[in-house]
């Protein structure tokens, strides 16, 4: 089927789009999560300074999303550099899809963590019992990014 020694050049194009999108979108989500909850912490901290350190948890959870993007970016970069000639364009598209899966999932999770974190830390300042509920909702939001990571890693194993 065609010349099996020549590697289709567009495979690298799409593969590296995957690498870039994994990192860029994950960082977008991470930054949105950190800033949105950070604003909540700053507003809340004026009146309840003792709760500030407990309220930093949404920011930490948002930071993890950037790490997911970096992990997938590094793994995909290694895979794209070693695309084999047999199914080069198929691999290129698979790595594009892997990057998009991880990046967009982390973006969505970051949006969710930011908005829930902002509302949560403000509500936590008024009512102690909310803390556990806020943590539970944040964990569900974080799991979304994990699902994206898992599917990305499955996709990165294509040959």
């Amino acid at each position: 089927m065609g010349d099996s020694d020549i590697i289709e050049p567009s495979a690298y194009f799409f593969g590296y789009i995957g690498v870039a999108s994994a990192v860029v979108f994950a960082n977008l989500g991470s930054s949105y999560g950190a800033t949105k909850s950070g604003v909540g912490i700053c507003s809340m901290g004026v009146l309840k300074p003792d709760l500030i350190m407990k309220s930093v948890i949404p920011v930490v959870m948002a930071g993890i999303l950037g790490i997911y993007g970096m992990i997938v970016g590094v793994i995909l970069q290694g895979k794209v550099s070693s695309i084999t000639a047999q199914s080069a364009s198929k691999q290129g598209y698979a790595y594009l899809s892997a990057g998009l899966c991880c990046g967009l999932s982390s973006l969505a999770a970051g949006l969710s963590i930011g908005i829930v974190g902002d509302a949560g830390v403000r509500a936590n300042a008024q009512q102690d019992r909310i803390f556990v509920g806020m943590i539970l909702i944040l964990i569900f939001a974080e799991a979304l990014a994990l699902y994206g990571l898992i599917v990305s890693l499955i996709l990165s194993q294509t040959s």
Partner: protein, 194 residues
């Protein structure tokens, strides 16, 4: 997968081809993998949209009515289920994509056309599943938000609004069912015919 020159087009064919004819030469594997990515990414966007819409109402209402906190987490779990539908569909679709290694002599055109069918079918499966889950996530989120606020005011309304939420959650299931049927015909075969 080097398709070579399916349909054996010469230079003259390429010169006078319409955009619709050129469209066929977009790689089938691109369509398949992009469908996988769409299915997963849009499902997770829907789930996250639902989680934050319901989360803020839940947290806000709990300030004055702490008793509603644990019960209303079920709305968040319904939204998470939407993300899981997306993951399931993505894994099913990935399982259907395999490398075509060879084809019987003289059947390159049929092989390529079958591959195009598979690619298009997986792409549109991704669109149907992804968009259904996106909409389902938003629906469950908005309903869950109303549920939390109503429950804070009047405890009897919780179960009644939960029934509405279950109907909303069924939208994602419809998407998954249609998606599974849609991609059932898409099989990339190693030798193109067996």
């Amino acid at each position: 997968m080097n398709w070579g020159n399916p349909y054996n087009w010469g230079a003259a064919d390429w010169q006078q081809a319409t955009w619709g004819e050129r469209f066929m030469f977009i790689d089938p594997y691109f369509w398949s993998y992009f469908g996988v990515g769409l299915a997963l990414a849009t499902s997770i966007i829907g789930a996250s949209w639902g989680i934050f819409v319901t989360g803020v109402s839940l947290l806000g209402s709990t300030v004055k009515a702490p008793r509603i906190r644990s019960k209303n987490l079920i709305s968040v779990i319904f939204c998470e289920a939407v993300a899981i539908y997306g993951v399931i569909m993505a894994i099913i679709m990935i399982g259907k994509i395999q490398t075509i290694e060879s084809y019987p002599d003289g059947q390159q055109d049929e092989c390529y056309t079958t591959a195009l069918f598979n690619g298009y079918s997986l792409f549109w499966t991704g669109v149907s599943v992804g968009l259904s889950n996106l909409i389902c996530g938003i629906a469950v989120g908005v309903t869950g938000s109303g549920c939390a606020i109503a429950d804070a005011q009047t405890p009897e309304t919780f179960v009644k609004i939960l029934v509405v939420e279950i109907f909303g959650s069924a939208l994602g299931l419809f998407g998954v069912i249609v998606g599974i049927i849609q991609c059932s015909g898409a099989t990339f075969l190693k030798n193109c015919t067996s």
